[in-house]
């Protein structure tokens, strides 16, 4: 009895720093951010309550609206493309190809690069006067045009390309682990039944890999919410405000533009959106757990 009490105390003591960090840094700072969004703070924080005026300004702000649109486009395309390309890469590697280790490393390599490096590389590749378009034209394809990055209506898709290029390798690694976990007996059974391979993947393997897909999707989604550096490095939000994203809106207004009130209102809106998406999912998960 005494021993277990002791171990409980030591467990609590061990957890205390983490608990304090969580209370002060996460909860405390979040609360402060929400409070700031209700004040008219500019460069320095103040406590002049102005109600929801910052939110009114925020939703009347073109740049914020564009940022929200962009993050939705980016989020949907990035997660779905990275998942499907990553999965296909994993399937390709799973065909017992030669030099599997090397290929695996090559696919995973982009992930070891930061978004800033990724962004710069792709900025150069996509630049019409330096990159792919230039190379194609110099090879004699005079009419070749690939200028998405300098056109406002397509710039956000360039961020998707770079993001997918960087993240697909990671998805591949997760998927490959999932594929290797599939029992060999299942493959044998399908062969006995004479099922075509694609059918096995679609109807049997994919449903079995729910956990791998969930892991990859969660990892990718967190990357979507905090998307900032890619936009800064690749287009700096441009041309115009065409590839702005919410996190960049917050950072720019917090520092460069000395507008703490508006920046925290944007940050709070991001938080509420994430909670609105995640909360039902967690609720569903816990309910499912109870039912078991």
């Amino acid at each position: 009895m005494r021993l277990s009490l002791n171990s409980r105390i030591s467990a609590i003591t061990a957890l205390l720093p983490a608990l304090l960090v969580m209370l002060v840094v996460y909860i405390g700072a979040t609360g402060w951010t929400v409070w700031m969004s209700l004040t008219n703070s500019r460069m320095l924080p103040n406590n002049n309550f102005v109600g929801l005026r910052q939110y009114e300004m925020l939703f009347g702000n073109d740049r914020w609206i564009t940022s929200v649109h962009n993050i939705v486009i980016y989020g949907v395309l990035f997660v779905s493309l990275a998942l499907s390309i990553g999965f296909l890469l994993a399937v390709a590697i799973d065909q017992r190809v030669r030099a599997e280790d090397t290929i695996r490393s090559i696919y995973l390599y982009p992930y070891s690069m930061s978004f800033v490096v990724t962004g710069l590389v792709w900025q150069w590749l996509l630049n019409p006067t330096l990159g792919i378009q230039h190379v194609l034209r110099s090879w004699g394809f005079e009419g070749a045009t690939f200028d998405w990055i300098v056109r406002p209506e397509t710039a956000i898709y360039c961020l998707v390309i770079a993001g997918v290029w960087q993240a697909s390798g990671l998805v591949m690694a997760i998927m490959l682990a999932g594929l290797r976990g599939v029992d060999e007996e299942i493959w044998k059974a399908t062969r006995v039944d004479g099922l075509p391979k694609w059918r096995v993947y679609v109807s049997i393997i994919i449903p079995m890999m729910g956990a791998s897909f969930a892991t990859a999707a969660v990892l990718l989604s967190t990357g979507v919410v905090r998307l900032y550096d890619l936009s800064v490095a690749m287009t700096n939000g441009g041309p115009g405000i065409a590839s702005e994203v919410p996190a960049k809106f917050v950072m720019d207004h917090l520092f460069e533009r000395a507008n703490i009130g508006l920046a925290t209102a944007a940050a709070t809106t991001m938080l509420i959106t994430v909670i609105a998406v995640v909360a039902p999912y967690f609720y569903w998960r816990t309910r499912k757990g109870e039912m078991r």
Binding site: L44, D62, T129, V150, I241, R257, A258
Partner: protein
């Protein structure tokens, strides 16, 4: 053995700690963002002067203007301020003064007769509630036109004086089709800088102060403002497809290499010409486009001094303030930095042709225009920047744009 090691560590530690205790010593920890070659050499001028005066200069360079400002301001608010910090001439320290966090330099300013030797717009930008709170140290002209003399000569053009002249030349260059007429770096702040140059050059002084200073929303809806907007948008016909996202110095290099005709950029672009071994007025020319009512847009840098309890720190601050503005320091600094001195009474013979031209503009009261940063808070400049950038990059009409600008000005009330 262990004991001796411990003792020696203790002695060293004690020695380190004891340095700041001595009351007479002047120490100055200065936060600034001058990290590139020429800039670092310029700030060394201040450091050397301060060392000569018996002080110790502790250099805290932080790369990136916004980063440096954040670091300095957070430390000041948290009660652990640096001795001095760099800001841009303008509204950036308004709230620090309101919060009573800055020491004024009025005594040093009166003693040195700063108001007598500096342009009024600059002293006004450093003064709050009748007292000077900042030391302006240089003037950067923001709306210079840089052009490649050989390229302009190839179409038989002389130096343009107005935007109309410039557009005639741009048309010729475009028709010729050999070079990019206007070198441009399509990033938000440069889109804004180009717009500002048109605002002052086509709209004139009244328009400039009316929009940025008085924030007159009805002026933004006027036909004159729309004319500014139309001229600005017309410039887009003269830039190349690679412009979006390009860095300003890459655009300058297009002019240097003769691949482009001209560029609108602040006088920091001169550093690129100098680095490429080009000579002012021979290889490249510089001018300021205006409609006759004047308009040299003056920005620059200041140093401010957070209030200190320790009198030795205050002494160091006031010594720094005095030293930064001596004619000798001013000219040395300007030579390294590429800016022009903030004092009009220094010997300018050592400066190059473009800097001397700048000095002549600054000496003329009618030409002195305070920069946007001096007239408006960062939040408003930022909101305008978004509007300008949208206008430049989409097919928004001049009417929509002027409505947008009017809305920004209105929200500032």
């Amino acid at each position: 053995m262990k004991r001796t090691l411990f003792a020696s560590v203790a002695i060293v530690a004690a020695a380190c700690v004891s340095v700041p205790v001595s009351a007479e010593e002047m120490k100055a920890e200065v936060i600034h963002w001058w990290t590139s070659g020429g800039e670092a050499a310029a700030v060394r001028v201040f450091a050397d002067q301060f060392t000569k005066a018996g002080g110790t200069w502790i250099d805290s360079a932080v790369a990136g203007a916004a980063n440096a400002r954040n670091a300095a301001i957070s430390r000041t608010v948290a009660g652990n301020p640096p001795t001095a910090m760099q800001l841009n001439t303008g509204k950036q320290f308004d709230e620090l003064v309101e919060g009573g966090l800055l020491a004024d330099v009025d005594a040093v300013a009166t003693e040195g007769n700063w108001k007598g030797v500096m342009p009024a717009a600059i002293t006004a930008a450093a003064t709050r509630n009748g007292k000077m709170y900042a030391v302006p140290i240089n003037i950067h002209g923001q709306n210079w036109l840089w052009y490649n003399k050989a390229v302009l000569a190839s179409v038989g053009a002389d130096e343009p004086k107005t935007w109309n002249d410039a557009i005639t030349i741009l048309d010729k260059l475009k028709a010729e089709g050999k070079v990019i007429p206007l070198a441009f770096s399509g990033q938000k702040n440069w889109e804004q800088n180009l717009f500002n140059s048109v605002l002052i050059g086509v709209g004139g002084a009244q328009m400039w102060t009316g929009i940025l200073g008085k924030r007159d929303a009805s002026l933004a809806r006027s036909a004159e403002f729309k004319a500014v907007a139309v001229t600005y948008k017309k410039l887009k016909d003269y830039v190349d497809a690679g412009a979006p996202g390009r860095n300003w110095n890459d655009a300058t290099n297009l002019v240097i290499q003769g691949k482009a005709g001209m560029q609108i950029m602040g006088d920091w672009a001169k550093g690129e010409f100098i680095a490429a071994g080009k000579i002012a007025d021979k290889d490249y020319g510089c001018t300021v486009l205006s409609n006759g009512s004047g308009g040299y847009v003056m920005g620059g840098d200041v140093f401010v001094f957070p209030k200190a309890k320790d009198p030795s720190v205050t002494k160091a601050q006031m010594t720094l303030a005095r030293l930064m503005l001596t004619p000798e320091t001013q000219i040395q600094f300007a030579l390294k930095k590429g800016s022009i001195p903030v004092r009009s009474d220094v010997d300018t013979s050592a400066l190059d042709a473009c800097a001397q031209k700048g000095m002549r503009y600054v000496a003329d009261k009618a030409q002195q225009m305070p920069s946007g940063d001096m007239l408006a808070p960062p939040a408003m400049i930022g909101a305008l920047q978004d509007a300008i950038s949208q206008y430049w990059n989409t097919n928004m009409s001049a009417d929509e744009f002027s409505a947008k600008v009017a809305a920004v000005l209105k929200s500032q009330e």
